[in-house]
């Protein structure tokens, strides 16, 4: 997305943040940096403190200790006694429920930010409409927010956040309020907006897939701390913990590892059955596998895959051209197969199949 390598955050980071803050159940303690033109997606379960990070950056919440820098400017330095109010930081903030002003029309919402810079109502309206046009909602300029659909509100909110030329973009669950039909298109649009953005962007989401699609890098947060940070694919491939693996959508199994033949590690699964992995570990471990790595075969077949578990189909859910199959075995797991192969196998709840995957697709983390 940006021309820069998103992981080389040490030099030229446009947005830097360090904050410590006592929250209700835990302490927020976080440090992160985002280069200009890059998007860092903060992923994690709700209540992990993700939105709090955005509020600290925007100046809506003052941490007990910390600093926020954007480019050359210091927005917050609790030790130096610097704390710029939100209006001087100028973050483009898209709130979870968009927080459009209900008493203003769509164009007035967009024109609210740059009111100082732009003289004259006609000129303000012209500029606001140009931005709305960019998001394909210019025809709704005169509508009040309550008459807009979720997708339309999201576009107006984006246009409003970008209107004052913000120095950083903060997006709090920008897609969560949308229904599944509009979400796919909205995700594509948002991705293109972020590609064009020249400022650092922080995006908060509880959905790892969304984080993977929109973020150049993904940082996983739990209970106020950063757990792991990297490219989405790396996080999915090498989760540092079962928590990250679970968040990325992997199937998580538990068992006890011991060394096996050919340099492989064998894991005796709790509840029965054994599987092999190329990772090295001994003792209690967490096993993670991605559903799309798991293939299903009719009983009795013999494939090349090392790991084979006899399971029973519990549920079949279509996801577009793919089908997610819930499975009951020694431990519950899930597979994702194409619709065609689901039909070929005649998958239906109650049917017995064999779940197979490679030792190389089996990741172990000591637990």
């Amino acid at each position: 997305m940006g021309a820069r390598d998103p992981l080389s955050e040490e030099e030229g980071a446009a947005l830097e943040l360090g904050a410590e803050l006592r929250l209700g159940a835990f302490d927020l303690e976080i440090e992160l940096a985002v280069p200009a033109g890059c998007c860092l997606a903060l992923a994690g379960p709700s209540g992990a403190g993700k939105s709090t990070v955005l509020r600290v950056v925007a100046g809506l919440l003052r941490p007990d200790r910390g600093n926020v820098r954007c480019g050359e400017a210091t927005w917050l330095d609790t030790e130096a006694g610097i704390d710029l109010p939100p209006e001087l930081r100028r973050c483009g903030y898209v709130f979870q429920d968009y927080a459009l002003f209900p008493h203003l029309r769509a164009w007035q919402n967009v024109a609210y930010g740059p009111r100082r810079e732009v003289r004259g109502r006609a000129e303000r309206r012209r500029r606001a409409e140009a931005l709305l046009e960019r998001f394909g909602v210019a025809h709704l300029a005169d509508a009040y927010p309550r008459t807009l659909s979720g997708g339309e509100r999201q576009r107006v909110a984006l246009a409003r956040a970008l209107a004052p030329r913000p120095r950083a973009l903060l997006l709090d669950e920008p897609l969560a309020a949308l229904d599944s039909r509009t979400r796919a298109a909205a995700t594509r649009e948002l991705a293109s907006v972020l590609r064009e953005a020249e400022v650092p962007t922080l995006l908060v989401t509880h959905d790892f897939a969304e984080a993977a699609t929109l973020g150049d890098t993904v940082a996983v947060m739990a209970e106020g701390k950063l757990v792991q940070r990297g490219r989405a694919a790396d996080l999915a491939a090498r989760p540092v913990s079962a928590f990250v693996a679970d968040l990325t959508g992997a199937v998580v199994l538990s068992g006890v590892a011991r060394p096996g033949a050919e340099g492989l590690t064998l894991v005796d699964l709790d509840g029965g059955g054994a599987i092999a992995s190329v990772d090295h570990a001994t003792g209690p471990v967490t096993v993670s596998v991605f559903p799309w790595e798991i293939a299903l075969e009719p009983p009795g077949g013999s494939g090349s895959a090392r790991n084979r578990l006899a399971v029973e189909v519990a549920s079949v859910t279509e996801l577009g051209s793919r089908v997610r199959v819930g499975l009951e075995g020694p431990q519950p797991l899930a597979a994702e197969v194409t619709a065609a192969s689901a039909r070929a196998l005649g998958l239906a709840p109650g049917r017995t199949v064999v779940a197979t995957w490679k030792a190389a697709a089996t990741r172990l983390t000591s637990s």
Binding site: A58, P85, E87, Y93, F95, F101, H103, L104, R105, R116
Partner: protein, 267 residues
């Protein structure tokens, strides 16, 4: 089913009773005298003076109440501080004070012999027997109506709207004026109407604190009381005008409250 019907009957009867009881005296004001006579009685210059004084004094009091009360209500609605609920209770106290107590309390605080009396005199401020004193009395009794309504209205405004305004570059003051006030407008208007109604009807505190002198401190309710002893028709006429103004006020607020902020409905 049979247990439900008697209750429905009771509810209906209670409503009918309440309606009659609350409207009959008002109707009687107009029923007692033919309209022509009511209008003619209004020719009394003392009555007209009282009416115009009432309008001027209540409007001045409302201006003070809005200018000071709205920011105060905003502070109560948005800030959390020690003793906040005690402050709220103190601000609302005049709501439950009998008007006569309010008048005596004002005299004890701001009268020539009152707590701040000497200080006010040094500053050249006279309140007792002056129109300014009427306004002070009206502000004292009516402000809590506005402040408590405004506080409720401000508290109900979604805080993320305020946050959004700040991140868009607006100062807290502009956020207050451009987002908070418009969003809370229906509540603010109804608080204003309540305060105005209370101020228009003020009698005891005004009489005790400011006195009663035609053209200076004699508001419409004081004039009605004086006219009652000498000219019942004139008293009825002035009462009718007050009723009309108050009813118009109530009605316009109910209508305007619904229209003024179209974006706020059914959100």
């Amino acid at each position: 089913m049979s247990a439900v019907r008697p209750f429905r009957a009771i509810v209906t009867v209670a409503l009918a009773f309440a309606l009659c009881f609350l409207t009959l005296p008002v109707v009687a004001i107009f029923a007692g005298t033919p309209p022509g006579e009511l209008v003619a009685s209004l020719g009394d210059p003392a009555a007209l003076d009282a009416l115009s004084l009432s309008l001027q004094a209540t409007l001045a009091a409302l201006a003070v109440i809005v200018v000071v009360g709205a920011p105060a209500a905003y502070a109560l609605a948005t800030r959390s501080f020690r003793g906040r609920s005690a402050v709220i209770t103190l601000v609302e106290l005049p709501l439950v004070l009998p008007p006569a107590v309010a008048g005596i309390a004002l005299l004890a605080a701001l009268g020539p012999q009152g707590l701040l009396g000497g200080w006010l005199e040094d500053a050249g401020v006279r309140l007792v027997f002056e129109t300014a004193g009427v306004i002070v009395a009206l502000v004292f009794v009516a402000a809590p109506f506005f402040i408590s309504q405004a506080q409720a209205a401000f508290s109900a405004v979604d805080r993320t709207w305020l946050d959004a305004s700040r991140t868009l570059g607006a100062t807290e003051a502009r956020t207050f004026l451009s987002v908070m006030v418009p969003s809370a407008l229906p509540g603010l208007l109804s608080g204003l109407a309540l305060a105005w109604g209370r101020a228009l009807g003020e009698f005891g505190a005004t009489l005790i604190f400011a006195g009663s002198l035609s053209g200076v401190t004699q508001t419409a309710p004081l004039a009605i009381y004086e006219l009652f002893a000498t000219d019942l028709n004139a008293a009825l006429a002035l009462s009718a005008v007050l009723v009309a103004i108050s009813a118009a006020l109530l009605l316009s607020v109910k209508l305007v409250g619904g229209r003024v902020a179209p974006g706020l409905l059914a959100r």
